[in-house]
């Protein structure tokens, strides 16, 4: 016991960051605390990978069952919206990475600025998505609430295309939900940053929120080609 105690004291004497008020008592030093938090966030992201993985798996099975019907739905997707949203999310990931970098360097103004940019691009994504959902609603391509479904242009695919549009709304819907959660996270981090919570010795919340934000970006990187560009080359109808 006495030995362990003296080791800890000796350790903290050598590491000024170990005296940080943010260091919880069950960690040896800030570096260990940071690595533990990062690891914990990754464990959470693994459960998220499985959550979206199930939907991607189900999507693959049904697309294999009805390849022609799935390809026909691409006629009603606007790949311009999809590509714009991909670009917007990638820029937001860049500003997020720069926000984490600013936090690590202790640049408070830059940190707040990059967090605001990240939120603006996140919001832009949701606005574009909203316009897109509205177009599907006007086009009668929403099979979820009854009365908003019309596939008379290709009646042979009418029922099978409903499956694809259900996947589309569930997958993009859950992704959009993750974006809303991400915006909430960013607001919290921004408010913490304004109170000058973060320093080169303590930026863990910025880092782990960034991991979440990048993960949501990765999900979209796969959704874009799988939902928008299925049958873009094929004239099915």
């Amino acid at each position: 016991m006495a030995d362990t105690h003296s080791t800890v004291v000796e350790h903290s004497e050598h590491d000024p960051a170990a005296h940080s008020p943010h260091l919880r008592h069950h960690f040896d030093d800030m570096a260990q605390q940071f690595d533990s938090a990062t690891l914990g966030m990754w464990v959470f992201l693994l459960t998220e990978i499985m959550f979206f993985g199930g939907m991607f798996g189900a999507y693959t099975v049904y697309r294999s069952m009805y390849p022609a019907a799935f390809a026909s739905t691409s006629q009603y997707m606007n790949p311009l919206y999809g590509a714009m949203n991909t670009a917007v999310l990638i820029v937001s990931s860049l500003t997020m990475a720069l926000a984490v970098r600013a936090a690590r360097l202790g640049e408070q103004k830059a940190l707040q600025l990059f967090l605001i940019f990240t939120m603006i691009f996140g919001l832009a994504f949701l606005v574009i998505k909203g316009f897109e959902y509205h177009e599907h609603w006007v086009d009668n391509k929403v099979p979820l609430f009854g009365g908003h479904w019309d596939y008379s242009e290709a009646p042979q695919f009418a029922r099978q295309a409903q499956i694809m549009f259900c996947f589309y709304f569930f997958m993009t819907g859950f992704h959009a939900l993750h974006m809303v959660v991400g915006l909430g996270l960013m607001t919290t981090i921004f408010l913490m940053a304004r109170r000058a919570t973060f320093s080169p010795a303590y930026f863990t919340p910025v880092e782990v929120s960034g991991l979440y934000w990048h993960f949501v970006d990765i999900v979209w990187i796969f959704l874009f080609p799988l939902l928008y560009l299925i049958g873009h080359t094929k004239k099915i109808i």
Partner: protein
């Protein structure tokens, strides 16, 4: 904790990611038959690796975190693999082909 990547690195990664997005769109306009989906997924995988290694900075993380990030793919492969063992080998698909 780890060395801090330069702004230059981040901007270069962003430029590659944006370029690959246009590439995905462009390739989808060319009819490659069954290879369209393969190319699209390869590009998406490449983009994902860039985001994970550089933006999420797993490159500089502890070996334990790297192991956990890798484990995510392992479980995903198990999940999807078990799915497809049934669906693709039992003749359950009415139109018979994967894509």
């Amino acid at each position: 904790m780890h060395s801090i990547p330069s702004v230059r690195t981040y901007v270069i990664i962003w430029a590659i990611l944006t370029f690959m997005t246009f590439t995905t769109y462009g390739v989808a306009q060319i009819d490659l038959g069954p290879w369209n989906i393969v190319v699209a997924l390869l590009i998406a995988f490449f983009k994902m690796m860039l985001v994970i290694l550089f933006f999420m900075n797993v490159k500089a993380d502890s070996p334990l975190t790297k192991l956990f990030a890798g484990a995510g793919f392992f479980w995903l492969i198990l999940l999807l693999g078990q799915f497809f063992i049934d669906y693709l080998t039992r003749g359950w698909m009415p139109e018979g082909t994967m894509w």
